[in-house]
């Protein structure tokens, strides 16, 4: 065996070892995710019901019409810990006709509310951005209350690869 050959062998061995490690890592990740992310069907239904309840608390008995509200969220997100989320409401934002409040809800987090905000005609434009946490792939719902008392809604689906609440603690 020449010096060169010996070098190759060790390199191959090293690569093989690295491959085995990577596979092992993947196996750990695969087995870990379902265990950590387990939300049973019953739990999911309960959380959806909680969202409906949270929406009812804001809206009351008023009718919610779909439209005017745009939820801008990336369709595929790797990390559920920080998901950029923009809500835009189509409104002239004048003293006579403006958006009074925007409420954002989620379906699958432990708590249905994401944020609620109050605006007025001084906002000039009904557009807000923030970064949110999402535990699982789901639909984000936004409800806007207009100055005439009507409620409008919009929603956007989002797929999360790694949900919030799964990160390692130090």
């Amino acid at each position: 065996m020449t010096q060169h050959d010996r070098h190759r062998t060790t390199r191959r061995a090293a690569l093989r070892a690295a491959g085995a490690l990577a596979l092992g890592g993947a196996a750990v990740a695969v087995t870990r995710t379902p265990a950590a992310a387990q939300t049973s069907a019953a739990q999911e239904a309960a959380r959806k019901a909680a969202m409906q309840e949270a929406i009812r608390q804001v809206v009351g008995e008023a009718k919610v019409t779909e439209g005017k509200v745009t939820v801008d969220i990336p369709p595929l997100v790797e990390n559920g810990n920080t998901v950029p989320c923009t809500v835009v409401v189509d409104s002239p934002m004048t003293a006579a006709e403006h958006v009074k409040a925007i409420h954002v809800f989620n379906e699958k987090n432990p708590q249905p509310n994401v944020f609620s905000l109050q605006l007025g005609p001084r906002a000039g434009r009904a557009s807000v951005s923030t970064r949110i946490r999402l535990q699982d792939s789901q639909t984000i719902h936004a409800i806007a209350e207009l100055s005439d008392g009507s409620f409008w809604s919009g929603s956007a689906p989002v797929i999360i690869t790694l949900g919030a609440c799964l990160e390692d603690l130090i």
Partner: protein
């Protein structure tokens, strides 16, 4: 004291819609996580954010644990007059922080 980062255009024309961006350093601990020993980590979040323009409130937000750590909030307002924009964050465990930014309106 939490660090804050505010972005308000220093100059604007009267009547312009300006974009205001705010960021504050905060863990926003959701209260749904557990430590490595299994103990629940208590909730520690910022619950409310308010912005005022020369003393008049123009924007208010209620935040929940679903807001990511280091809350970033961006909104718009109409530049009406020169003055100060004041921002106030309030949260769990008596957390309170204020920040301000000046704007010149021509």
């Amino acid at each position: 004291m939490a660090r804050t980062l505010i972005n308000v255009p220093p100059k604007a024309k009267r009547g312009d819609v300006i974009s205001v961006k705010t960021l504050i350093s905060h863990v926003m601990e959701s209260g749904y996580r557990h430590s490595t020993t299994g103990a629940a980590i208590p909730r520690d979040i910022i619950r409310s954010f308010a912005a005022s323009y020369n003393g008049a409130e123009i924007f208010r937000a209620e935040l929940y644990p679903a807001i990511a750590a280091n809350p970033f909030i961006s909104f718009h307002t109409v530049a009406t007059e020169s003055g100060t924009l004041e921002f106030k964050w309030e949260g769990d465990n008596g957390f309170a922080q204020t920040a301000s930014a000046k704007i010149t309106v021509e």
